[in-house]
Symmetry: C2
Subunit: 185 residues, 2 copies
């Protein structure tokens, strides 16, 4: 249990003791559900988002705009962006960011599939929505260079978070907010 993310020794003990107290039937149901989930949920063949079918719900949805692809590092980012209800295009999940320190190069990510997808299909815009860490920036620039010959490549805005206070923003964020200023509508 302790190997699960966010579960320390104490929580692991609490979970273990809770399971031992439950009736055998209930415990079997939990164990089966875990095995089933692992068996059924794979990756979408098109965008590499988590999916119970070979092509995920977002890729199959005919109401979503095929001409715009949002590139993210992880399936969790797809879920976060879907919650905004602001985006009606498709996604492409890289499966991580380029990180030579951890032995993750471009070959370990779903980048060649993305380039194939963009070069073969008519895509008007690719939005790079990768978190702004050092590895994230590297990945953004690398993927951006590969895609530029085929389509318009944009990236999400960096700056002050909503409800954030100028006074408490770190210096790099403030500098990016100044640099990224836009004309007032």
């Amino acid at each position: 249990m302790q190997r699960l993310p966010g579960v320390g020794p104490k929580t692991a003990q609490r979970l273990a003791l809770h399971i031992l107290k439950r009736p055998e039937e209930e415990v079997n149901t939990l164990a089966k559900a875990i095995i089933e989930a692992k068996k059924q949920v794979g990756l979408c063949q098109v965008c590499f988002h988590l999916s119970a079918e070979s092509v995920c719900e977002i890729c199959r949805n005919p109401n979503r705009n095929n001409n715009i692809i949002c590139v993210v590092a992880d399936s969790r980012d797809v879920i976060a962006l879907e919650k905004t209800r602001e985006y009606g295009g498709k996604y492409h999940v890289l499966g991580g960011v380029i990180s030579p320190m951890d032995g993750i190069g471009p070959e370990q990510l779903n980048i060649s599939a993305l380039v194939r997808r963009v070069s073969q299909q008519k895509v008007q815009e690719v939005i790079l929505a990768i978190s702004p860490s050092v590895e994230g920036e590297t990945t953004t620039l690398y993927v951006g260079q590969l895609l530029k010959p085929f389509t318009l490549v944009t990236r999400i805005a960096f700056g002050l978070p909503m409800g954030g206070d100028l006074e408490y923003a770190d210096e790099v964020t403030l500098a990016r907010a100044l640099e990224g200023r836009r004309e007032l509508d």
Copy 2:
């Protein structure tokens, strides 16, 4: 002591007891320093930033760009922006944001002085750098409308803070980051 910002009953007691323990001379020095500071520090006649002289250091500095004015709500925001070392123009401190609930209308802020400054002087750009609260947005739009006839009006970027994780960003920030996307250089 308890009326000072960020000082609760316990801290107030600690401060008071500390002062009572110090030699009389030291306490007098502190009291005099407070009185002197209050006497000497006023507001800059040009930009309303805190200043010991009638015109502040930033306004007097001949190396700073006169053609660009960054509008902020508070002197603390000037200090925050100066720390980035990215901005070489002048400032204008509004002294707050429009907040009808607190009885603060445009007349209570240094807005008319700003309009006069921008209309009389040759200013290429005014950057509105006001924190994105409801009151801040109102102030940005109000001031922007007043200044547009005279100059280019821009606003700082809103989006993901640096080092921020897409997954943990709130939905409004993510929506703004998507909406404010820019072409990759």
